[in-house]
């Protein structure tokens, strides 16, 4: 009897699915995979994006999606883009990438560190597809990495923070204690110290990229500890809102967050992925794509400090402009010695300039940052 039941269940399911198929002509929805040979009619390049969060996060993923749209606009009919949001950094990612390949995408962007292994795996079997991995460190023949010098934005924000703070205590809500974030905290502090040598920075870690209630709680604990200017490396506007609720100041991060809290907002350190996405796609279109590591900043238009509030003193504003110009023409270097670590010992000698390797592996706090670094024993 039970067997009969289950056979009928199975039958019913298959009938349902066949029924659906009959009502729909089985023509594929998307164009077949293009070949790269020169033909009279050029199919648009199919480009796919995998996002770790929802497009509406107002932060990291939002910035990537805006860049995707900008790239699409710039290149017009030459490309067709699609995206999948909230792809977890785990086993499922591989299937998503595989499906993207199966759908004929020839250029695939993975916008978070956690996609490194899945992308490497699928790249092996899809030699004609180009992979772009954000913030990673492994490359392959058809997989390259790209990143943005967010620390430049952090430094500029620091300049403003240093000049606005009255209590000389800055607070940072940190996400995950990886080198990128530590570097940002350090750069923020260095920027603040360039205007105000007396500032100290306190850091609280939420151990997540995105967790609004905990970001709020962390922000409150910093405010209660005396910080009057807040900075964050987390992906939502919770810290900014918490600062606003307490009458303090804060910054936007990843995207322009000025409209979330106009009174409290000092400036937003944004990442603009559009210049890179346009370049990468043009490479793929022109056939000049090759594996490399790209790390762009203010110079290439990938980083900027925008929507600077009117309450920022003119002196700070001028300094930010000078730094921006200096970064653009290469005359200004943020990480130039002498720079001391928390314990006072020099990590960069006088006039020494940190190279990308040094910057990529930063695992220490600079002098002026209070508290221990998690995980550093």
């Amino acid at each position: 009897m039970r067997l009969a039941f289950w056979s009928s269940f199975a039958l019913a399911s298959s009938l349902a699915s066949t029924g659906c198929e009959k009502s729909q002509p089985p023509a594929p929805e998307h164009k077949p995979a293009e070949t790269k040979s020169a033909e009279a009619k050029i199919e648009p390049l199919k480009v796919a994006f995998a996002y770790v969060g929802p497009v509406g996060d107002g932060g990291w993923t939002f910035a990537h999606d805006n860049a995707r749209k900008a790239m699409e606009k710039e290149l017009g009919g030459k490309v067709v883009t699609t995206f999948v949001e909230s792809v977890p950094e785990a086993a499922d990612a591989e299937r998503v990438f595989h499906d993207m390949i199966g759908q004929g995408n020839k250029l695939i962007f993975g916008t978070t560190f956690g996609y490194m292994e899945p992308m490497l795996k699928v790249a092996v079997d899809a030699k004609d597809v180009k992979f772009e991995h954000a913030t990673g460190y492994k490359t392959a023949e058809n997989l390259r990495t790209y990143d943005s010098r967010t620390y430049e934005g952090a430094y500029m924000a620091g300049i403003i923070a240093g000049s606005v703070t009255k209590r000389n205590v800055l607070g940072v809500v940190g996400s995950v204690p990886i080198p990128e974030v530590i570097r940002n905290i350090d750069s923020f502090t260095l920027g603040a110290q360039s205007m105000n040598p007396k500032v100290t920075t306190k850091v609280v870690w939420v151990n997540k990229w995105f967790d609004p209630p905990n970001e709020t709680a962390a922000a409150k604990s910093l405010i209660d500890g005396g910080a009057d200017v807040l900075f964050q490396n987390t992906d939502s506007s919770a810290v900014l809102k918490a600062a606003a609720a307490a009458g303090k100041n804060a910054f936007g991060w990843d995207s322009d967050m000025s409209s979330y809290a106009p009174q409290a907002h000092l400036a937003s350190a944004i990442v603009n992925w559009a210049p890179y996405y346009i370049k990468a796609t043009k490479d793929a279109l022109a056939g000049t794509w090759k594996t490399e590591r790209t790390w762009w900043g203010v110079k290439e238009g990938a980083i900027d400090l925008v929507s600077i509030s009117d309450k920022v003193p003119a002196e700070a504003r001028a300094k930010v402009d000078t730094v921006k110009a200096g970064l653009k023409d290469g005359s200004f270097v943020i990480w130039k010695g002498p720079i001391a670590g928390q314990d006072g010992k020099e990590v960069l000698k006088k006039d020494a300039i940190a190279d990308d390797k040094f910057l990529g592996g930063i695992n220490f706090y600079v002098k002026g940052v209070d508290g221990p670094l998690p995980g550093a024993k």
């Binding site: 009897m1 039970r2 009969a4 039941f5 289950w6 009928s8 269940f9 199975a10 019913a12 399911s13 349902a16 699915s17 659906c20 198929e21 009502s23 729909q24 929805e29 998307h30 796919a48 929802p54 699609t82 995206f83 999948v84 949001e85 909230s86 792809v87 977890p88 950094e89 785990a90 086993a91 499922d92 591989e94 299937r95 998503v96 595989h98 499906d99 993207m100 199966g102 759908q103 560190f113 956690g114 292994e117 079997d125 460190y137 995950v176 204690p177 990886i178 080198p179 530590i182 151990n207 592996g361 695992n363 998690p374 995980g375």
Partner: protein, 356 residues
């Protein structure tokens, strides 16, 4: 007036029809939703029900997704039949993954293939141990297993977090919270080259057979079921409810732990804070939709996997939001529970009489 009354005996017809009815309701609601969003319902439904089974790769992916659901669902089916409400399968899953990861990371350059077996055994054993806490507290201290098992899920999550952020963090991983990638030798063998399907599905299907024989062909299974359905009768008959409690919790804990171990040494290949994927909770739905029957659980785990995969495809192909998967899963279970009630109840027209 219309009122509900209990049927003299459960309706066989309704037990057959109920899951089909529930699925149909969900599908209809889904179609309506797609139309409301301006998408072609036929195409969307095809993404959910046809695409995930259309070719070898798809079937392989389906099996990868279904394996943990099937294992957990099986264990929970046994548990729920014994009226033991193990809501903490997610925690047992995590412990299984952690233990297997620990064994996998101990592999050296000389280690042989046998380490896979020991990783899986370690995983099952840890899941069992985690569930044993629940059993012990219920046995010795009469503590409600629902809340204890649920609390232990959080403890397990935090334990995992502590390990991957701390002692087990990959020193070469740029301080990201993740362990090293496990060596090839520790990975669960795949069934076919080029596809991700691994022996886990074979183990799970074997588990289905074992569960079937246990529940419906063994005396212990019979005792367990009677204990769940009619505790008073069971105790009169001398069936030990304590034995049933331990058996069901250890079995489901072991299955969930094994599922976790297979995930860790299979598709994941390392431990990260993203190990808990909600399978422990989805497994509860799988058990219910499968009517707590081993063969039913096979179908329901496949169905749930189709929802997951279909949801992903609907995202990438149709631009539908990811949240739809949760909506459908919730809707399916809700519809099933509603339809199921007709098995034991029926509507009758009665003249109202006295107090309700």
């Amino acid at each position: 007036m219309l009122c509900l009354e209990a049927r003299p005996a459960p309706s066989r017809l309704m037990s057959l029809v109920s899951p089909i009815l529930a699925l149909s309701i969900t599908v209809l609601a889904g179609a309506a939703l797609f139309v409301a969003l301006g998408r072609d319902p036929g195409q969307a439904l095809r993404l959910f029900f046809v695409e995930p089974v259309k070719d070898a790769y798809a079937l392989s992916e389906l099996s990868v997704k279904a394996t943990p659901l099937l294992l957990i669902g099986l264990g929970l089916a046994v548990c729920f039949r014994a009226n033991v409400w193990n809501i903490g399968a997610e925690g047992q899953f995590i412990l299984g993954a952690v233990a297997a990861g620990g064994v996998a990371m101990s592999a050296g350059p000389e280690t042989g293939r046998w380490i896979v077996a020991s990783a899986l055994v370690a995983g099952a054993a840890s899941g069992m141990a985690w569930a044993a806490i629940v059993a012990l507290l219920r046995d010795r201290a009469n503590t409600n297993e629902i809340f204890v098992s649920l609390m232990l899920v959080y403890v397990a999550e935090m334990l995992l977090g502590h390990l991957v952020y701390g002692p087990w963090k990959d020193p070469a991983g740029y301080n990201f919270p993740q362990t090293v990638t496990f060596a090839e030798v520790t990975r669960v063998p795949r069934l076919f080259t080029g596809y991700r399907a691994h022996i886990g599905i074979v183990v799970a299907l074997a588990g289905v057979v074992v569960a079937y024989f246990f529940l419906f062909r063994s005396y212990a299974g019979f005792q367990l079921q009677v204990g769940g359905l009619a505790p008073a009768a069971a105790s009169y008959a001398g069936f030990s409810s304590r034995k049933a409690l331990w058996l069901s919790l250890l079995a489901s804990g072991g299955m969930s732990g094994l599922a976790g171990a297979l995930e860790a040494t299979g598709p994941l290949g390392q431990l990260t804070p993203h190990v808990p994927a909600g399978y422990g909770f989805a497994g509860i739905i799988v058990a219910f939709v499968g009517r707590l029957h081993p063969f039913g659980v096979v179908f329901s785990s496949m169905l749930m996997s189709m929802f997951y995969i279909g949801g992903e495809l609907a995202q990438s192909r149709l631009g539908m939001p990811k949240s739809l998967t949760g909506v459908f899963q919730g809707l399916l279970l809700f519809a099933l529970l509603a339809c199921d009630t007709w098995i034991v109840q029926r509507v009758r027209w009665r003249r109202s009489q006295g107090a309700r």
